[in-house]
């Protein structure tokens, strides 16, 4: 598929390039924001509301109850099944840069006291692309939700399928969608949260299969890349094409939720769908 044609903007990384890391420049309004203030504001620009991209680790940290998260399958790592040019090097670089083994972070935790299975994709790890390991971790997360009769929440941030794994990466669409089908059949809640960007193979599988689909403001959401579409139709696309707002207008997602309202919104949904609460005396 052709979702990566839009050059990734490593906006959220800019802060790391600032001297001393004390200030960050907002890619939208260009204001310099005090790093501590940005952190307090969940990496949302206090001046213009721009939602900086979050790593999977930060996503879990700002979403779940503190100390409640237990990671699954941390040691599951990619191999190079096709012998694809530079793939092992790219993997190694992504591991070094992110300190993570792969682009999916999965586990169990509590959200406002509701016990839930969670998966978050990390756009900073090879564009959050889905190869065998991402597919396997998402499928295992869904299967654990099934076994333990818990809800599943997936935060997507991905450029699509990982082409360095060829058709094996395409098959992850089938593997993850089949696992999600079992959740639906067993009447277990599955909530999909689309973060910037959610494109390609991830949209053509689990991200669009939620009972309820949420998106962060301004997130890029779409299947094909803007440039290849413009080449095909021979004209420029409007600026808001494939944004979360565009998707809501076209009936593709349920709601756009600013980051500071995500926890209360997810809590309301978990309560509505009858998610179990963590008992007071036990750790989550």
């Amino acid at each position: 598929m052709s979702p990566w044609l839009r050059k990734p903007k490593y906006a959220a990384l800019q802060r790391r390039e600032m001297p001393g890391g004390l200030w960050a420049k907002c890619p939208r309004c260009k204001n310099l924001i005090y790093q501590k203030e940005l952190e307090r504001n969940l990496q949302v620009c206090p001046k213009c509301g721009y939602h900086h991209r979050l790593s999977a680790t930060d996503r879990i940290a700002v979403t779940l109850d503190p100390g409640s998260f237990v990671e699954f399958d941390a040691g599951l790592t990619s191999v190079d099944p096709l012998g694809f040019t530079d793939y092992p090097e790219k993997l190694e670089e992504a591991r070094r840069r992110t300190g993570r083994a792969e682009a999916a972070f999965t586990g169990m935790g509590a959200l406002d006291g509701f016990r839930t299975i969670v998966a978050a994709l990390d756009f900073f790890f090879m564009g959050g692309s889905m190869g065998s390991v991402v597919g396997e971790k998402v499928a295992r997360a869904a299967e654990r939700a099934l076994e333990q009769r818990l809800p599943l929440i997936i935060f997507s941030a991905s450029g699509g399928a990982r082409m360095q794994e060829g058709a094996l990466s395409l098959m992850q669409l089938a593997k993850t969608s089949a696992a999600v089908a079992r959740l639906h059949a067993e009447r277990l809640p599955y909530i999909s949260v689309m973060c910037d960007p959610t494109t390609g193979g991830v949209t053509a599988s689990f991200a669009f299969l939620g009972d309820v689909i949420l998106a962060e403001p301004g997130a890029l959401i779409g299947f094909a890349g803007r440039r290849v579409i413009e080449q095909t139709i021979g004209r420029r696309l409007p600026e808001d094409f494939q944004t979360a707002e565009f998707c809501r207008e076209h009936g593709l997602i349920d709601m756009i939720v600013p980051r500071d309202q995500l926890r209360p919104q997810l809590s309301r949904l978990l309560r509505f769908f009858g998610a179990p609460r963590v008992a007071l005396e036990e750790p989550a």
């Binding site: 599951l76 040019t85 299947f223």
Partner: protein, 291 residues
Amino acid sequence: MAANPLPTPDSGVPPPRPAAPRLSPWEIVQLARHPQRPKAPDFIFHLVRDFTELHGDRLFRDDPALLAGIGWFEDQPVAVIGPYKGRDTKENLAHNFGMPNPEGYRKALRVMKLAEKYGYPVLSFIDTPAAFPGDEAEERGQAQAIAQNIMEMSTLHTPILVVITGEGGSGGALAMGVGDAVLMLQYAIYTVIPPEGCAAILWRDVSRAKEAAEALRLTAWDLTGLGIIDEIIPEPEGGAHQDPDAATAAVREALGRHLQAVKDVPIDRLLDLRYEKYRRMGRQMESLARG
């Protein structure tokens, strides 16, 4: 290594296994795209007796890029789906080069659901370059349409047999490609992205498509090794277009054999096997958790 855990019928004759090709992956890409190659509708019209085309997704419009209908395969009622790739520019323009819009995938799903209602098998013939990069396809939710098909096919309560006859391009192909057996013509291709797109993204150079075709492992032999397809259907010397009747006969033989194999498997067992089939796909390494 075959991906298919289904029993093979005890006919005493092992399925044909074509020898590894003397052609390069790029030459195979050219054969898969050959203008004279029999297209999915050709296979459908020749293999399905008393074919009745069904139109429309009941939501938006009838997608001319996707052919769907009902008919008889031998003495078995079946539902059939396949992209409508044309043989010349005029046909291709009329059928959007065999690239469905969301309404095409939704029409396919509607007809598969019809088959499910009667327990009739679904035959899916795949020949589509890729999902369609169009603005309206995005507005109407092509990602959602593809995701929905993939999910529904994983639990469709009736047998699904898939034959990749030409180009199996990306999510567009998989939206018609989840099944109990996935067969592939000798010179068909199946890939996560067309080689040109891969070269453009990875190396910013479309002219390196030939290199990408090799790197992507998109031939039937590669995919058998990766456990993604179940059987290679042999083609006549020089490709299916050299002798379309022979190619059709080979597809008929293979489909007949696989249909026989799935027919008597109880549906719950078949669905478990289908789940396991896709569940196993992928290569990874378990190691001790870091830190």
